[in-house]
């Protein structure tokens, strides 16, 4: 009788074969694949070349005014450069713009580090960005206290308004969504019915009509003399609307948590709120990060709809700027810039969510 000796571990066969090897297996593995690859490459080059040419090579980067752009075949970026302050700050009083700048810097400082490894106090920065920052931002931007000159919300606009709408919407919609999702799964009929009605009502109407109601209809129903700010009404509308979506995303996560998790937490003696906070929500929210970020991105882009109630976000300002007759045909540049603004922020959110998912991954379930 002989002892069982396990075979030694061997390295896997070598799969890396350099660029040529990669191209051979992935692009030219068969005659048909080779043809598809060549045709695909042809189309990519034909479509990409003019775009790159327009954006970079033939574009006008320096010069003064419309005259510099008249002859150019590429993009007229000096137009964007010329209007950049307006796109950023709207018609906020120029001598007060430093207040917005402080907010931008604080926003960048509290969110930027989240994208990098090995930066200490990230947790506190995140907490600050969700609690302290909105407060500081409010007092800085609106003024009227601490010796700051008051700036009415009619003067807020541009990218700063877009960011403000999205930021407040995101910060407020997530917790409200969590509460609504828990409420919808509650055993108490009154709470459950309320949450179901709330969610279905807000989810069932388009955001445009919510904003329209908030800005046009609501003042009609309010008693005389009682009126609150148009921006605030828009913010509440957006928040309610998005929190209804958020609630359903989070409810999906809650339903995916096996019953055993609730039982183990109960058996341990944890009460309902502690169970939710310590055991259920951390798992459920992690599961639905893609859905949550999806909602955030939709919210970010939906902020452009405030245009219809007369608030001027970055897209609205771009639209009015391109109609300026002193510049010739700058529509494409304007929309390109607006698209780039939105894409940058949405793409950052998407990257951040992927990073978060990787970081929170703790091996297989159970």
């Amino acid at each position: 009788m002989s002892d069982f000796v396990p075979l030694p571990n061997m390295p896997p066969p070598n799969l890396s074969k350099g660029i040529v090897g990669w191209a051979k297996t992935n692009l030219f593995s068969s005659p048909i694949n080779s043809i598809i690859s060549v045709v695909g490459l042809y189309f990519v080059i034909t479509f990409l070349t003019p775009i790159i040419d327009w954006v970079f090579i033939s574009a006008v980067w320096t010069g003064e005014g419309n005259a510099a752009c008249v002859e150019a075949t590429g993009a007229c970026w000096i137009f964007i450069g010329d209007r950049l302050p307006i796109f950023f700050y709207g018609i906020y009083p120029p001598e007060q713009i430093w207040r917005l700048d402080i907010c931008f810097v604080l926003l960048a400082l509290s969110f930027g580090p989240q994208f990098f490894e090995g930066i200490p106090y990230k947790k506190y920065l995140a907490i600050f960005s969700l609690t302290g920052l909105p407060l500081i931002g409010y007092f800085l931007i609106s003024g009227g206290s601490f010796g700051l000159e008051s700036v009415p919300t009619e003067k807020w606009g541009g990218l700063s308004l877009t960011l403000l709408l999205a930021y407040v919407g995101i910060v407020a919609a997530l917790p409200i969504g969590v509460v609504l999702a828990l409420g919808r799964r509650s055993k108490m009929p009154v709470i459950r019915t309320f949450c179901v009605c709330f969610i279905e009502m807000w989810r069932g109407v388009p955001l445009i009509s919510v904003l329209f109601m908030a800005s046009v209809m609501l003042p009609l129903f309010l008693p005389d003399g009682m009126n609150f700010d148009k921006l605030l009404r828009a913010l509440i509308g957006i928040t309610m609307f998005q929190s209804a979506y958020m609630a359903e995303v989070i409810r999906g996560g809650l339903q995916a948590i096996p019953g055993g998790q609730y039982e183990a937490a109960s058996a341990m003696g944890l009460g309902y709120w502690k169970q939710m906070r310590l055991v259920i929500l951390p798992q459920a929210l992690k599961l639905v990060i893609p859905g949550i970020v999806n909602t955030f991105i939709a919210l970010f882009k939906d902020t452009t709809l405030v245009l219809i109630i007369g608030l001027l976000d970055v897209l609205a300002l771009v639209q009015s700027a391109i109609e300026d007759p002193s510049w010739k045909a700058v529509e494409t540049e304007g929309y390109f810039f607006a698209a780039l603004c939105f894409w940058l922020f949405c793409f950052s959110m998407s990257r951040y969510s992927q990073k978060l998912e990787r970081k929170l991954h703790t091996g297989h379930k159970r």
Binding site: P258, G260, Q261, E263, A264, A265, S266, A267, M268, G269, L270, G271, K274, L278, V279, P282, Q283, K286, L360, T362, G363, H364, K365, R366
Partner: protein
């Protein structure tokens, strides 16, 4: 072996799932320090019965008194009972988003309001007792089933329970891992823990049980000490069951 004060008392306890009568007139008294093994065919209500003891399931009639506290709708009493009763599940139910150590310290910190350092010391002590202190920083998803179940036992012990409930703790394990879990349970039994185990490990029952209870169709059919129970079963249903689980 047994003292006067009962750890668990079930008096005329009944439970229904809708129209279905799952537990019929259960009477059971478990003395402090007693080890009870509950067996029976699947669907006989054995799991449901022990899940009633920490009110993961509600009973509709009769009384359940745990450690002197009667279980009612009163949430405060339920919390009080749950603090003294530990439970291990068939599927371990560890919290996958927390490390092994955090799984063990969650209860002491949030239910017993213990400082973190002290909770960690206790957790390490029990992880050593179940022989996996080196896994403390791993996540449950990175461990074998046997290791996970031992963590689950350690997690319950960290709450310093007076009574331990085991709901088929080895049923979901590979044969090679059953022993490592049973060894921990035997050790626990030898230290005098009050235990109620739903299990089909008859070797374990013979070794540690003070009493074996056989259930069928929601009723306690027979209860006896393990020696009598296995060698001289009284009821025909018990005889059939025993012949089936030992015969293969």
């Amino acid at each position: 072996m047994t003292t006067n004060k009962p750890a668990v008392e079930l008096i005329g306890m009944n439970k229904w799932y809708g129209e279905f009568h799952v537990l019929k007139d259960i009477n059971l008294t478990v003395a402090e320090g007693e080890r009870i093994v509950i067996c029976g065919p699947s669907g006989s209500g054995k799991s449901t019965m022990i899940r009633c003891i920490n009110r993961l399931e509600e009973h509709q009639a009769g009384q359940i008194i745990v450690n002197g506290i009667e279980l009612t709708e009163d949430l405060k009493r339920i919390d009080e009972v749950r603090r003294e009763v530990g439970m291990c599940f068939q599927h371990f139910n560890l919290f996958p988003h927390l490390t092994v150590l955090e799984n063990c310290t969650l209860g002491p910190i949030w239910v017993r309001k213990m400082p973190k350092k002290e909770a960690e010391d206790i957790a390490m002590h029990f992880l050593e007792r179940v022989k996996i202190p080196e896994q403390a920083d791993k996540f449950p998803g990175q461990m074998s089933g046997g290791q996970q179940q031992r963590v689950a036992i350690a997690r319950s012990l960290c709450m310093n329970p007076k009574i331990m409930l085991f709901d088929e703790p080895t049923s979901a394990l590979d044969p090679e891992m059953i022993k490592e879990v049973l060894d921990v349970m035997v050790e626990l039994a030898n230290e005098g823990m009050t235990m109620l185990c739903v299990t089909h490990e008859m070797g374990f029952a013979k070794m540690v049980a003070d009493r074996v209870i056989f259930m069928d169709a929601g009723q306690i059919v027979e209860e006896n000490n393990p020696h009598e129970f296995f060698d001289n079963p009284q009821n025909d249903r018990t005889k059939l069951f025993l012949s089936q689980i030992i015969g293969h």
